[in-house]
Amino acid sequence: MIGYLAVTAQEPLGYLGGVLVADEYGLPVEFRHTLPVRPTKLQRALYGNALDRYLRSVVITQRLVAGLEHEPAVVLVSDVTLARDARLPLAFGEESGVDPVGAPGAVEPFAGAADGFLLQVRAQEAPLRFVTEAPVHLYPEMGRALCEAAETMDLFEPMERVRAGLSLIAAGDVGLAA
C-alpha cells in the first residue's frame, strides 16, 4: 500500500488536507481529510511568512498521518515541503531526468539541500527522484514498496484523485462523514 497526502488552500474556506491509502492497484483503502483550517488575522500576523509552511507541513500533515488506520510503507506528498519527518515515511516524488542508476528496484541515496534517493522503477528509463526526511535505512523498504506498486498502477495518479476529492469536500459536494 502507498499513501497519498495533499494539502490545498481553498478560498475562502481555508486549508484542507486529505490522505488516501491505496492498494497495489490504486484502489482506495482509506481516506481521511481535515476540516478546513482558517487562521485568524492575529495568527497570520504572528506566524508571518512561516504560517503557510507550518500549517501545511506540521498542523495538517502530521495530524493526518497520525490518524491513519493503515500504515503504508511510504506516503507520497503533494509538495516537497510536506516531506518531513513523521510517524510514517513521507516522500515527494518526481521524475528525475537523469541516467538510469541500475536494474529495476535499484536505490541510490543522495544528499544535499534535500535528502532522498533515486529509484530505478523500470529498466532503461530515467529513475524517479524521491525527497524525504526518512532515515536512510528505510530507503530500500520504501523503494521496494514503490517498485511493486509501479508494476500494477500508475504511481502518481492517485494524487490527482486526492486533490479532486478535496475540491469536492471544499465545495460541499460530499458529506463529511464516511
Binding site: D23, L27, A164
Partner: protein, 219 residues
C-alpha cells in the same frame, strides 16, 4: 753682698763636742695579760614545735608557678568594646500595596490547533485516469491478439465497424465499473469494494453507435 755674708758666717762658727748622755735603765720582762674568753652564740635559737599528723595520704599542692597573664588585647584593655554577632536572618518582606491602573490582559488563541480529521469517501477517489500505452510499446503479434479479443467482445459483424481507442496498462481489472474518454485520457469509474488484479485494458469504439467496448487482458 753674698761674699760678705759668707765670710761673716765662717767667723761665727763654733766647735761642737759629744756629751755623756748614757743613763742606766733597769729592764724587766713583763708577762702578757691572759685574755678572757667569752663564749658567743653562733646561731640563734631554733624554736621547734610539733605539728599535727596529716595521715598517710600526702596531698601535694602544686604551687601556681604561672604568673597571671593578661590576655586581653592591649588595644582593648582600656576602652570598653561591644561584642557584635552578625545575623543572616532575612527580614520578613514587607508588602506594600500600590494602586495601579487597572488593565485587562487577554490571550487570544495564537497557536494553530490541529484540525479534526474525518473519514470520507468522496466520489473522486473512485475515478481513475489513465493515459494510453504508446503503440510502439506493444508488438504486432500482441496487438493483433488484443484486437481480436476486442472484436469478439464488441459483437460487431465486421472489424471495420470497430475503432481502437487505446491500450491502457496497469488498470485494476475486475474493479472497473465504467469507462469514458476524456481527450487522450481514459477515465475509469471504479466499483467500491471490489478487489483488483493487474490488467491491461483494451478500449475500442463502435463506429456506428459511438459506444465504447473494453476488454480486460490479464497482465
Amino acid at each position: 753682698m753674698i761674699r760678705r755674708a759668707a765670710a761673716r758666717r765662717e767667723r761665727d762658727e763654733l766647735e761642737v763636742v759629744e756629751g755623756e748622755l748614757a743613763v742606766p735603765v733597769d729592764v724587766r720582762a713583763v708577762a702578757p695579760p691572759v685574755p678572757e674568753l667569752v663564749p658567743e652564740a653562733l646561731a640563734p635559737d631554733v624554736r621547734v614545735c610539733e605539728l599535727f599528723d596529716d595521715g598517710d595520704d600526702v596531698v601535694v599542692v602544686e604551687p601556681d608557678i604561672w604568673e597571671a597573664v593578661d590576655v586581653v588585647p592591649v588595644a582593648l584593655v582600656e576602652p570598653a568594646f561591644t561584642v557584635r554577632a552578625p545575623s543572616v536572618r532575612l527580614a520578613r518582606a514587607e508588602l506594600r500595596t500600590m494602586p495601579l491602573i487597572e488593565t485587562t490582559v487577554e490571550a487570544p488563541a495564537a497557536a494553530l490547533e490541529p484540525p479534526p480529521v474525518l473519514a470520507a469517501r468522496p466520489p473522486a477517489l473512485d475515478v481513475m485516469r489513465r493515459r494510453p500505452t504508446p503503440p510502439g510499446a506493444v508488438s504486432q503479434a500482441v496487438l493483433r491478439g488484443h484486437l481480436l479479443a476486442l472484436f469478439r467482445a464488441s459483437r460487431c459483424g465486421s472489424p471495420s465497424e470497430l475503432q481502437l481507442v487505446g491500450i491502457y496498462d496497469r488498470v485494476p481489472g475486475g474493479a472497473i465499473g465504467s469507462v469514458a474518454v476524456d481527450g487522450s485520457d481514459l477515465v475509469l469509474r471504479l466499483v467500491a469494494g471490489r478487489r483488483g488484479r493487474p490488467t491491461r485494458l483494451v478500449v475500442g469504439r463502435v463506429r456506428r453507435t459511438e459506444q465504447l467496448v473494453t476488454v480486460e487482458i490479464p497482465a
